[in-house]
């Protein structure tokens, strides 16, 4: 039965009767094709999911994707699937859901810039609608096909008019830098820019068209280097977290200036962080973990590690904790006064 094909496969893997028959990959390809159609990717180039080839049908892309999906959705999860199967008698739903997440993840990684730009334009538009600066047609959740109109308007601007209207912003390097970033400041900036244009007579826009215009400028050669840096796991760098009061001058001094000065500054920073761990963290187990982390960072730096390249993921692997746990522990080291100071400005913006 097709609806239990993955359960049967996992069962055969567990009882040792699986004979490496590639038929399971054909089933997997069928499921992937179904899901690609569902998310509107089947008729687009495989490059949207970071695969080579002109189309899914006329290339090896689907075979490659099926092999990868097998590893991520079945092989690496075999223990979990086996447990699930033993208790529930099925694991097909689990595999199918995991395939959808896997494709979503590939979509994010394959075309991260456009995805982020789209999200920023959508968040900005949602905020404009909430603040009654604009209306959405149809109402409800904003989608690529949603038309956002200035209050009282009934026809949106064409794509050419939008490109003309926003040409000034698209030439602004700061705008171009921020528009594809994944942070609240980005969509707020987009919101401000759109609102300014609405005040100057913009009638409205099709959400996907505006996102496409903004995403196009991110493909400029001078922009590629900027954006490729922040695709690394989406998790911030250690340096940004531990040196919250740094300036560029101070940072360069840590890295390039005389050894004596560097050592003094660094030792002071470590002392400061240890002090904050004792001050901010009351739970002994977590405090000890954070102290271990500070010690490890210091050790890595002493061994010549380039602190700018040290990511939460790398540190998480070294310390055997989750990368997000590392980021949270670093957040625990933030100066509470700075956090308090940050709140009012956050509220205002």
């Amino acid at each position: 039965m097709d609806d239990q094909v993955f359960s049967e496969h996992v069962r055969s893997r567990l009882d040792g009767t699986f004979d490496n028959d590639p038929a399971i990959l054909i089933h997997l390809k069928r499921e992937i094709r179904r899901q690609l159609k569902k998310i509107g990717q089947w008729n687009l180039s495989p490059s949207y999911l970071a695969f080579d080839g002109e189309s899914w049908e006329a290339s090896d892309a689907l075979d490659e994707l099926a092999n990868e999906a097998y590893i991520h959705c079945i092989e690496k999860r075999l223990q979990k699937l086996a447990e699930h199967l033993a208790v529930t008698g099925t694991c097909d739903g689990s595999v199918r859901k995991k395939i959808s997440w896997f494709l979503q993840d590939r979509q994010e990684k394959g075309n991260p810039i456009s995805r982020r730009v789209f999200r920023n334009v959508r968040s900005a538009s949602e905020s404009l609608v909430e603040r009654e600066k604009a209306e959405a047609t149809p109402s409800g959740a904003l989608r690529a096909s949603t038309i956002v109109l200035a209050i009282g308007q009934s026809i949106p601007n064409s794509a050419e008019e939008l490109a003309d209207s926003f040409s000034e912003s698209l030439g602004d390097r700061d705008f171009v830098k921020l528009v594809s970033r994944n942070c609240p400041a980005s969509w707020r900036m987009v919101e401000r820019v759109i609102e300014k244009h609405i005040d100057s007579g913009l009638r409205g826009y099709l959400l996907s068209e505006l996102a496409k215009i903004f995403a196009e400028v991110c493909k400029r050669p001078d922009r590629i280097a900027d954006v490729s840096e922040d695709t690394d796991d989406g998790i911030g760098r250690i340096w940004d977290s531990i040196s919250e009061t740094r300036t560029d001058v101070r940072q360069s001094r840590y890295l390039n200036s005389s050894e004596v000065d560097e050592y003094d500054q660094f030792a002071a920073l470590v002392r400061d962080l240890v002090g904050r761990a004792h001050e901010n963290i009351t739970n002994e187990r977590i405090r000890n973990r954070v102290l271990r982390m500070i010690e490890k960072i210091a050790e890595l730096i002493r061994e010549g590690e380039d602190v700018r390249e040290l990511s939460c993921r790398k540190l998480g692997v070294i310390l055997n904790v989750g990368k997000t746990t590392v980021a949270e522990d670093l957040a625990r080291l933030q100066n509470p006064r700075k956090e308090q100071d940050a709140h009012p400005s956050e509220m205002e913006s």
């Binding site: 893997r13 567990l14 699986f18 490496n20 028959d21 590639p22 990959l25 090896d60 075979d63 490659e64 092999n67 097998y70 590893i71 092989e75 999860r77 075999l78 223990q79 979990k80 699937l81 086996a82 447990e83 699930h84 033993a86 208790v87 529930t88 008698g89 099925t90 097909d92 739903g93 689990s94 859901k97 995991k98 997440w101 979503q104 993840d105 999200r119 968040s123 959740a141 994944n182 942070c183 609240p184 911030g236 739970n283 187990r285 977590i286 973990r289 998480g316 692997v317 055997n320 904790v321 989750g322 990368k323 997000t324 746990t325 980021a327 949270e328 522990d329 670093l330 957040a331 625990r332």
Partner: protein
């Protein structure tokens, strides 16, 4: 097509992987006492890659546990705890925002998935207290995840599932006081339809010619579209499902007070009627069973 099973290294590694998974399954043991990390799966989430992990016992009742969802969705929000990459169950994140209370007596061995080991369970317990005190460390990745619609949709789906599980666990099973076992069930139109189909099959030479001796049974008040019966067979009882004309299959039996239901299954007869492969027994004059999301307690006179 390119086939990863052609790679001898992959074949060898996957064989070892399967052996390890088999070993873990064989080691699954229902604990005498629940403790933090014990994990369950419930019928409401059979089709989802999610397990429910015991985190804290209630301060006033050590038998009452708070369980949270743990799943493999790749985004990690501010209230979630992610397992280290080296953990055998990674990737997995405990969603501390999505949980429910369940009493030890309402959890059963057939739903037990083993114990989640490691500091992440302690971190999740601590996260609950941070959530109560409003001291959750806010990180950039957490905010990014929470601004993501797909992540929000997934958490909303989990919350709905958690509500359904909690609501079922906290509801009393349907009690059939002194169930009467007779033949009145056989006059139900849906049952008669199946019997007439079986009779015409027999007439065509596809079944036994002799007339069928019907056993006494009691109908269970299920919301399923077909008819659910408990049929008496001398000292034991058979669970039987007569499907509606849609020919749907019955949901899995997830609990019966005398059985390890994991080793049983529904069997479909030539007439389209489903029978659970294991006979049910009686304990303390009761047959208690959970079928899909419905629970029954049948008192045997």
């Amino acid at each position: 097509m390119k086939n990863l099973f052609d790679d001898p290294n992959f074949r060898e590694a996957s064989k070892q992987n399967a052996a390890m998974a088999r070993e873990r399954i064989a080691q699954l043991r229902w604990p005498d006492m629940l403790s933090a990390g014990d994990s369950f799966v419930f019928t409401e989430s059979y089709d989802l890659p999610v397990r429910w992990v015991c985190l804290v016992a209630h301060v006033d009742n050590p038998l009452l546990w708070f369980l949270v969802a743990a799943d493999e969705y790749h985004q990690v929000g501010t209230c979630d705890i992610e397992l280290p990459e080296s953990h055998p169950l990674a990737p997995l994140a405990l969603r501390c925002k999505v949980g429910f209370w369940a009493h030890r007596d309402d959890l059963n061995m057939n739903d037990y998935l083993g114990k989640l080991e490691g500091d992440s369970v302690l971190d999740a317990r601590y996260r609950l207290s941070e959530m109560v005190l409003g001291k959750v460390p806010i990180t950039e990745h957490g905010l990014i995840a929470e601004a993501n619609d797909d992540y929000s949709d997934w958490l909303a789906e989990l919350m709905e599932v958690a509500e359904r599980i909690e609501s079922r666990l906290q509801s009393e099973p349907v009690v059939l006081a002194n169930a009467t076992f007779d033949l009145s069930w056989s006059r139900d139109p849906m049952v008669e339809m199946r019997h007439s189909e079986a009779a015409s099959l027999a007439a065509d030479g596809f079944g036994a010619q002799k007339s069928i001796q019907l056993p006494p049974a009691t109908r269970l008040p299920s919301k399923l579209p077909g008819r659910l019966l408990l049929q008496r067979d001398e000292e034991t009882y058979d669970l039987v499902y007569y499907p509606s004309p849609e020919n749907e299959s019955p949901p899995k039996l997830t609990f019966a007070n005398t059985l390890d239901v994991r080793t049983g299954d529904w069997k479909r007869g030539a007439d389209g009627v489903w029978t659970w492969s294991q006979p049910l027994g009686v304990i303390n004059s009761e047959v208690v069973l959970t079928l899909g999301v419905e629970r029954f307690k049948v008192q045997i006179a």
